[in-house]
């Protein structure tokens, strides 16, 4: 199936889906500090039917708030693969695009879409809650139009993504004293 064809049922489902998005509450980096203002009374993203969700298995949106260290990337890949389809990824701030201020760091990745597909980027360091809400609106529009297809790309190009993940991480599985 090509990525852009949807059946009529999917179209209806997408309409409904866009009105109720659950965002996985995983703060990977600095950007997390602008999430509380967006979630709470000042900017109140519940107006758009969005809310935070503590577990990946019930979340629709994975929100990568800024830089990702290699150590976090392993958990993010775990998390992303646990999320049910359809799932959407938003890259927040400069760091997810091209490394941001940590472009020369030995511990952080430089481009997120090399490892997992990203549906939408927000520019800024860090973006303001206003930009965040605009991005959510844009994402809803994209879902309704059937343009947010990152999760399909991940399935189709799984080998490519896996290869990139392995290139940067060595291995995705975690070995520490708790995972023996």
């Amino acid at each position: 199936m090509s990525t852009n064809e949807r059946s009529i049922w999917e179209k209806i489902a997408d309409q409904l889906r866009s009105k109720s998005l659950w965002m996985l509450h995983y703060c990977t980096g600095c950007g997390a500090i602008e999430l509380p203002p967006s979630m709470t009374s000042r900017f109140d993203m519940e107006r758009f039917g969005m809310g935070p969700m503590a577990t990946p298995r019930q979340a629709d949106i994975l929100f990568i708030t800024g830089y990702l260290s290699a150590k976090t990337l392993r958990r993010v890949i775990y998390t992303y693969e646990q999320m049910p389809e359809p799932k959407y990824v938003i890259g927040f701030g400069s760091c997810t695009l091209n490394g941001g201020i940590y472009y020369d760091s030995y511990a952080t990745i430089n481009r997120l879409d090399y490892y997992i597909p990203v549906d939408l980027y927000i520019a800024g360091c860090m973006p303001r809650p206003e930009a965040l809400l605009e991005a959510f609106n844009e994402l809803m529009r994209m879902i309704r139009k059937g343009e947010a297809n990152g999760w399909k790309r991940y399935k189709e190009n799984y080998e490519w993504y896996k290869q990139n993940q392995l290139r940067s991480l060595g291995e995705v599985f975690i070995h520490d004293e708790f995972h023996e």
Binding site: A32, R42, A107
Partner: protein, 367 residues
């Protein structure tokens, strides 16, 4: 025996961010706990060695997200100490205003934020919304909400205009007017008392032995605050008190933060009054920013952040880049030894309370 492994984090909604604790749990009680940091490690200390003295200004605030200005001040003061720069008086007062505003902003997020682990969401909603007013001040003063990049070695980047001063005065009045509401909501709340009193105890000897600083130490009855003990900027020229408590539990730590906001407001008002007119910065050294140099030397500078002693140890070899900068994260002791030694014995539902009242702050530990 049914010992169960429990992964706490890194994926957890809470003030302590991207930080993980691995626990062995028996029943409801934590038997052993291991801290697992490093999810926010970016290698700041290495990156700083690759950037020019002035360029680092854009990097350092990112070490601590809720209160970035402490980094800027430490960095600037360390350089000023090594290079023996006389900072204009007005700049020092502006720095104090910024530091105290940042303290209020951070406290406004963390003390009502205790509602998060308790299920009392109203308080955290209020806190974040009121904190946003402080961010509005930062936006008009420094040009950004979170990462201000405003305090530079030699002073501050721009002057505090009368318009911004009015905004500060108004906002402080507003915050001060709001605080009794928090008192009603949190500290007169029976549930809060039941859940926080006697929890996450830390006595004075342990706190001193571990090297815990900040409210964690002051809640055990000692008025140890770097602003008083080793005054920096003009903290010896303003009048304020160090609130202390004797119980050493979660409740007193939260309550101390609440009381500190009053003191911060008092300090800012004095600063606004005492601030002279004049220049706000001097160049770090001769020439253009591309060629600033700091003479050979070493210095350790520490300041009182919301979580305790925050310090920079800086080594300069006389070049155009720092030779070595080491950062002392304020919550380092409680994050490691605290979690490992003093978390065991806590019930699972109290772990988030333990972590947030102990101010475990992952970004400054990981760096």
């Amino acid at each position: 025996m049914g010992e169960v492994k429990l992964f706490f984090g890194p994926n957890h909604p809470g003030m302590h961010g991207n930080f993980s604790v691995h626990m062995y749990v028996e029943g409801d009680t934590v038997e052993r706990a291991r801290p697992l940091p490093g999810f926010l490690h970016r290698g700041f200390e290495k990156l700083m060695e690759r950037r020019l003295w002035y360029q680092n200004l854009a990097l350092i605030p990112r070490i601590c997200v809720p209160e970035p200005d402490i980094n800027e001040v430490c960095y600037a003061m360390a350089i000023e100490k090594i290079a023996k720069i006389d900072v204009p008086e007005r700049a020092q007062w502006i720095r104090m205003i910024i530091l105290e505003l940042a303290r209020i902003a951070s406290h406004m997020m963390s003390f009502p934020g205790i509602g998060g682990p308790l299920g009392l969401y109203t308080s955290s909603f209020w806190g974040v919304a009121d904190r946003d007013r402080i961010l509005d001040i930062f936006e008009s003063l420094t040009g950004a909400r979170i990462y201000h990049m405003f305090i530079v070695p030699g002073g501050v980047r721009k002057d505090l205009t009368p318009k911004i001063q009015d905004l500060i005065v108004k906002t402080l009045d507003y915050i001060e007017g709001r605080l009794p509401d928090y008192e009603d909501l949190i500290f007169k709340n029976r549930i809060v008392h039941t859940r926080l009193k006697g929890i996450a105890l830390l006595d004075r000897e342990t706190a001193l032995e571990l090297g815990v600083t900040g409210v964690g130490l002051r809640a055990t009855g000692v008025p140890y605050d770097i602003r008083k003990v080793d005054p920096y900027l003009f903290y010896d020229k303003v009048d304020f008190e160090i609130p202390t408590a004797t119980d050493g539990d979660a409740y007193s730590r939260v309550y101390l933060k609440y009381l500190e906001i009053y003191q911060s407001i008092k300090i800012i008002r004095q600063c606004l009054e005492k601030m002279p007119e004049g220049k706000v910065n001097v160049p770090l050294s001769e020439g253009s920013a591309l060629r600033y140099k700091v003479p050979k030397g070493q210095a350790y500078v520490h300041i009182e952040s919301t979580r305790g002693e925050y310090g920079y140890f800086m080594v300069s070899d006389g070049g155009e880049k720092p030779y070595r900068v080491a950062v002392r994260g304020a919550s380092y002791p409680q994050t490691f030894i605290g979690v490992e030694k003093y978390l065991p014995g806590t019930r699972i539902e109290d772990v988030p309370i333990w972590l947030s009242t102990m101010d475990v702050c992952a970004p400054e530990v990981d760096r």
